[in-house]
Every structure is written in structure tokens, then in C-alpha cells.
Assembly symmetry: C2
Homo-oligomer: 99 residues x 2
DNA sequence: ATCTTTGTTCGTATTTTTACGAATAACGAA
DNA sequence: TTCGTTATTCGTAAAAATACGAACAAAGAT
């Protein structure tokens, strides 16, 4: 017998997005990508005071959450926002945060 | 000698807000508070499938992040959104997520 | 085929988050 | 003062997040 579920799918989905945004480094990455169309891991690595492997992890988190996407352009990988989900997030948080 | 800081204060601040929103339970609480003016911990406790102490922890996180505020109304505590910061968050995420 | 460049994955350590029940605190009511 | 109600704090355990360097993978250049 399953407990009545009080948390909606939307609440879960947008908690997930928020969680992905919930780290300064990831916020920086998203901010950067929202201002220029795309960038490479190396561009970020040059400027961010963290190990490359750590940066990769953050990029993976953002990708897994659906906020960015990566396209191989060997030997580089070009990262861009996932525009579709980004839009979805915008619509939700706009409504959520108020009128 | 201090490294040049690449992460802005805004990125840190709004990463903090996002982090607070980054859990389904906390998303539920914020959603509830955004739809009705206020509520008591007990109201939430009745409906959420978690221990009261866990709920208290989540409320504390939201309070520490500045997204809600609690007012004693003994022996209860009335929780409401922190409207000022809520507004600040709205403005930021609106700009951040796009035009 | 080997080297170089670009990033990721692996292994691991540390810190933080999440969760619970028991104990405690605050305060009004009896 | 003692009791009941409402929540928080404490102590603790388990899971997840964060970070690093070393090892590895992929593909173009030599």
C-alpha cells in the first residue's frame, strides 16, 4: 500500500533543476552559457580555480540535470544550454516566484 | 596574494537560493507558502511523510537561506515567505533565465 | 604508428546533506 | 506548579556531493 504522494512531479523536476543551479561554479557556467551561445571545457578551465576533473564533474551534473548539452568537436567538446529545458525552467520559475 | 575571483557575489547568492530550492520537500514547502500566506510546521508535518525533526531541519535551511521567516505564536511558529528576498530571487532568475 | 591535445573517468578522501528518534524548550491551560 | 501541546535541538548514522591527481580515451597531426 502506497502512501498518498504529496510531492508533485513538477516539484521534483524543478527541485532537480534548482539543485543543479545550487553551486557557485555551476551558476557561473550557466551564466556564461546564457550570455554567449557556447563554450569549451578548456575555456572554463582556464578561468576557474578548480581541477579539470572537478570541472568535468560539474559539467556532467548540469548535463544529467538537463540544463546543458555537449557536442563532440574532437578533440574538444562544445557545451551549450539545453534551450528546451531552459525554457521550461524559465516558465516554471516565473510562475513559481510570482506574478 | 589572492587569486582573481571569477565567481561573482550574485552567482554565489543565487546559487545559495537555488540550493535551498533544490530538494523536493523544500520545494513543496515554498510552493505551499507561495500559494497561501503562511502556515505552521504542524500543517506541513501532517501531510509530509518525514519525521518532524527532519521537517524542522528543512525549515531551518530555508530560513538560513533567507527564503522564509518564522514568527513565534506560541506554542506554534508561523512560517511565511521572506517577501523581500523572494522578490530579489524573482528579479534575478527572471533575468538569468531569459527574456 | 606515435605524439599531442583535450577532456573524461577512476579511485579516493573529506565534507555536507539527509534522516531518524530521544531529549529538550517554550508557553498556555488547568 | 504541573500538564499538554508544539516544535526545535541533539546525537548519530548513512548517503551524497565535492575535490584532487593519476590513468585513460578519442581523434587529428606528424
Amino acid at each position: 500500500m502506497k502512501l498518498r504522494e504529496v510531492i508533485t512531479e513538477d516539484q521534483k523536476k524543478f527541485a532537480r533543476y534548482a539543485k543543479a543551479m545550487g553551486h557557485p561554479i555551476r551558476m557561473y557556467i550557466l551564466d556564461t552559457l546564457s550570455k554567449q551561445s557556447c563554450c569549451y571545457s578548456g575555456d572554463l578551465s582556464e578561468v576557474l580555480p578548480i581541477a579539470k576533473s572537478t570541472l568535468s564533474q560539474h559539467l556532467k551534473e548540469l548535463k544529467d540535470a538537463g540544463l546543458i548539452q555537449g557536442e563532440t568537436e574532437a578533440p574538444k567538446i562544445k557545451y551549450c544550454l539545453n534551450r528546451e529545458n531552459w525554457k521550461e525552467a524559465r516558465n516554471f520559475y516565473q510562475k513559481f516566484l510570482g506574478d
